[in-house]
Amino acid sequence: MSIVLETKNLSKAFGGLKATDNVSFQLQAGARHALIGPNGAGKTTFVNLLSGVLQASSGSIFLDGQDITKWSVRRRAISGLARTFQINQLFVDLTPLQTLMIAIAERESSGGHLLRPVGSRADHVEESVELLTRLGLSDVMTQRVGSLPYGRQRLLEIAVALAARPRVLLLDEPAAGVPESERGQILDVVDALPKDVALVLIEHDMDLVFRFAKSISVLVNGALFMEGTPSQIANDPRVRQVYLGEEAIAHV
């Protein structure tokens, strides 16, 4: 197995606070990896460092062996590193269809074209429709994104990221804030994500983590506390102590 994403001694300090502390982490191609940790462990900071929203204080990040530490968000995105956001970051005044048309056009470097109207590329429309259908959004393709129920917006978050055809996908709490009735759909979608995409799931929800992950990293106070298989993590007394409640363990 090859390593697609790697960090070496990655750190981020906000003033005196070390939000990410010397994290060395490797992600295999096609991995199903979960990143867990108590509140304030620095999970989202870590994702922001990986995706380039934040710049590292020290250490480095490699994508396919290439040093991307100084790269912009955009350059990382077009090199195959996609992410979703914990809080929806969508184009609320556009439609899901338009959203995917934009993402696909940017992937194909035709997003700046001036003359032919949006929709003249039948292949782009077809891909958008297919992706939206796959994620169960085919009935709301032309509705305003801002008017969609929260759960559907969470699905669109994933769809936009997938439209870039990433090799690494960072899912920042995909089920966060989704009502119980709509959660099943999100779990199914996460299960059905393409096998060749390496996934990093940041999640509080232990159901989702243990159902989905083949390997787990535990972050505590910004540092990597432990790595292992789900059963190793679930049965480790130290992890139990810092993070997991007895209740969560019972599911494994």
Partner: protein, 345 residues
């Protein structure tokens, strides 16, 4: 429904927005008919078209890309002075005094300055952008004042002579040729703007306006697109300024003054930002109101204008066109298909 049928439907839905709709065609026909209906008001009508083009240029930057600007008047003034100076130096003969060459040069000068200053608006919040665009505009205004040998300073630029259009149509004192000239140029500019905004470029601007963080995360080159739209808008404002200078055969500090930017912004908000037509409709209502209110209360017309503006901004999102859209969505939702998502500022 199968995927291929659905794809076909969705493609039709997407392309529908780019096709010319009958209200649009009616709008341009109605605008043209004013030539016959109000032959004594042609210079006012020309001015409305010019203001509308200025507001359209603001619409591209603000209505589509979401960048607040108070500096568009500077590009308007640059275009005006460029066209006026060429007219003066050419002494009424082509090529320098040729109106079309003047328009192209005005667009180039304004576009160049727009491009150079666009990098200043890439960073920062709305407030920063407002101040930066205002600052650039004030500098250009002051330059026009100080370079008296070139611009005539506060006396204005006298002796501007414009050659006949295409060597054939001379500008007449009734403003007939001026109106037709403005109409054709504004229409061509509008068609270009419309094409750009219906293309992936325009949609990507709306994405930037909607959420720049997400736009970057899908690999959209946000800064590149903003530089591009700011430059295009500067060129359009330059053409608008050139039209005013050529049709009045004069350029003055008033054309590069701050109130141009403010008027343009006000007109756009009035008409509705993000619809392309907001600028022209806003300019029409603004100038007609100014005329009518000015006749009733010559000193206080701005008071009533202010009240109308307040009511529009507080109670109707999206100006006059937003009001129309709300009414259409309420009373005749199927008249023109689903509500467009182009949104409002």
């Amino acid at each position: 429904m199968s995927t291929s049928e659905l794809t076909h439907d969705m493609q039709k839905t997407l392309l529908k927005g780019a096709r010319w709709q009958w209200p649009e065609i009616l709008f341009w026909l109605a605008l043209a008919s004013l030539y016959l209906l109000f032959p004594s008001k042609l210079s006012l009508l020309s001015e409305i078209l010019i203001l509308g083009l200025l507001a359209l240029s603001i619409d591209l930057v603000l209505g589509f890309a979401g960048v607040v600007t108070l500096g568009q008047g500077a590009f308007f003034g640059l275009g005006a002075y460029t066209a006026a100076l060429m007219g003066k130096w050419g002494m009424g003969t082509a090529p320098l005094s040729d109106p079309l060459i003047g328009l192209v040069c005005a667009a180039l000068v304004s576009g160049l300055v727009g491009f150079a200053t666009s990098f200043l608006v890439l960073r920062g919040s709305d407030l920063t952008r407002l101040m930066v665009t205002l600052g650039v505009a004030l500098m250009i205004e002051e330059l026009a004042n100080k370079l008296k040998w070139l611009t005539g300073g506060s006396d204005g630029l006298q002796g501007v002579l414009i050659a006949p259009i295409l060597g054939n149509w001379d500008f007449d004192i009734f403003g007939k040729v001026s109106f037709v000239y403005c109409y054709v140029v504004v229409f061509v500019m509008f068609v270009i703007a419309r094409q750009f905004m219906k293309a992936p470029f325009g949609l990507s601007l709306q994405a930037i306006k909607g959420n720049a963080l997400r736009a970057r995360a899908i690999g959209l080159p946000v800064n590149e697109r903003l530089v591009m739209v700011y430059t295009i808008a500067a060129m359009m404002a330059g053409v608008a300024g050139a039209l005013l200078a050529q049709t009045t055969q004069f350029a003055s500090l008033d054309m590069v003054a701050f109130h141009r930017s403010a008027d343009g912004l006000l007109i756009l908000i009035f008409g509705g930002a993000g619809y392309l037509y907001g600028g022209l409709i806003g300019a029409f209502v603004f100038r007609v109101m100014q005329d009518v209110l000015g006749n009733i209360t010559p000193q206080y017309w701005q008071f009533w204008l202010g009240i109308v503006l307040l009511l529009l901004v507080l109670f109707v999102r999206g100006g006059l066109l937003g009001l129309l859209r709300n009414m259409r969505d309420r009373y005749a939702p199927n008249l023109m298909g689903p509500p467009s998502s182009s949104g409002s500022a």
